[in-house]
């Protein structure tokens, strides 16, 4: 770090700006969800995915992992399904 760094005002992003950015991303998402029919669609989406996979492979409820990462430009949804070694047993 240079001795003169402190003279240039925005040395690193100020925490207030970070706060504002985080809020804008979160609230854009929350406002669009509020009261809309797609609010909380994730549990249903998960149930549908599990049902679809069970037509072919016996998986348990706990074998599904859903992760979300929301961004300002795009969000990503990651769904991990653990398949049993032998697809013989019936789903629990």
């Amino acid at each position: 770090m240079s001795l003169f760094d402190f003279i240039r005002k925005p040395r690193q992003p100020k925490s207030a700006q970070t706060a504002k950015d985080r809020l804008q991303i979160l609230l854009a998402h929350e406002r669009s969800r509020e009261g809309s029919p797609e609010a909380d669609y994730l549990p249903m989406l998960q149930a549908d995915i599990v049902a679809a996979i069970r037509k072919y492979v016996a998986i348990g409820d706990k074998d599904v992992e859903v992760r979300m990462e929301r961004g300002d430009q795009m969000s990503s949804l990651e769904i991990n399904i653990e398949l049993p070694k032998t697809p013989a047993t019936k789903a629990g």
Binding site: M1, L3, D5, F6, R11, S15, A16, T18, A19, R22, I25, L26, E30, D40, L42, P43, Q46, A47, D61, K62, V64, E65, V66, R67, M68, E69, R70, G71, S75
Partner: protein
């Protein structure tokens, strides 16, 4: 705590962070204490009980990763494991976010008990961030607790509400209702303490507060600029740059784990020229 401790059976201690009054620092303290415990190697989960007003996720910095919540698990729409968010900084820390639903009845005693019992099989500490007030959410946050941290500001209404909550901890909880059970171990955490105002007699002293509440002291957290900064960036204060507040929380965490530690009031240091030059904040 050493890494081999991770192979020990989980402690399964349920600790409620409560106060009665709102805005005294419960969520800030829940985040700091849970991160502090996890940093020491304890498997820790922090639960947001403030149904309808989710906020712990922002303070912990995981708001973009919420998929399922507490109520989804209670209602059977998701498994507990799916709703837990693993902290990206500490692998020993998990967060269980609350729901944004306005239906407060979604929180049931049976549901809460079942979730806590499941968490006890995997975690050393289960930290429950209580909502303000003494309604359902606050009652359920404290009902199954083994210990309580009563967050109090040195200010009349906060001390009064803390006294009220201490009464409820001693009467309206599982431990209180169970014959022969040890009562909840309650400790006060004084937050937003301003030594300069205490000095000139504008604010009650730690001794004043303790004399009134008559429960052991867990720690004294000074009023600190580091708290707003930490919440801006979504980092529990003990994981952010060292500050008077982070040191005070670290001390409190040591006491919470049962280690005796001399009480000290960490003051907010005024930045000297050196600190200003090199950009370190107190």
């Amino acid at each position: 705590m050493t890494t081999e401790a991770k192979n020990n059976p989980p402690l399964g201690r349920v600790i409620v962070i409560t106060s009665g009054k709102g805005g005294v620092g419960k969520t800030t303290s829940s985040a700091a204490i849970s991160a502090g415990l996890a940093k020491k190697g304890f498997r820790t989960v922090v639960i947001d009980f403030d149904v309808g007003l989710r906020n712990l996720d922002m303070i912990m910095g995981c708001e973009r990763r919420v998929v399922f919540d507490f109520i989804n698990v209670i209602q059977g729409d998701a498994k507990l494991k799916q709703a837990l968010i693993k902290d990206k900084r500490l692998d020993t820390l998990s967060i269980l976010p609350t729901s944004q639903t306005r239906d407060k009845d979604a929180l049931t005693k049976e549901g809460v008990e079942q979730i806590l019992n499941e968490l006890k099989t995997e975690f050393d500490y289960i930290i429950c961030d209580s909502p303000a007030g003494i309604e359902r959410g606050a009652q359920l946050a404290m009902y199954f607790a083994d210990e309580a941290v009563v967050v109090t500001n040195p200010e009349v209404s906060s001390v009064r509400d803390s006294d009220r909550v201490l009464g409820l901890l001693g009467s309206q909880t599982k431990r209180a209702e169970t014959d022969g059970a040890e009562p909840i171990k309650a400790q006060v955490l004084i937050t937003r303490y301003d030594p300069s105002r205490v000095e000139i007699g504008e604010m009650m002293t730690v001794e004043d507060v303790l004399e009134i509440l008559a429960v052991p002291l867990l720690g004294v957290i000074p009023e600190s600029k580091a708290i707003l900064r930490a919440s801006n960036v979504g980092t529990p204060v003990v994981l952010d740059a060292p500050s008077a507040a982070s040191e005070a929380y670290e001390d409190a965490v040591i006491r919470l784990t049962g280690t005796e530690l001399e009480m000290r009031i960490v003051g907010e240091r005024k930045p000297g020229l050196f600190q200003r030059l090199f950009g370190r904040t107190a």
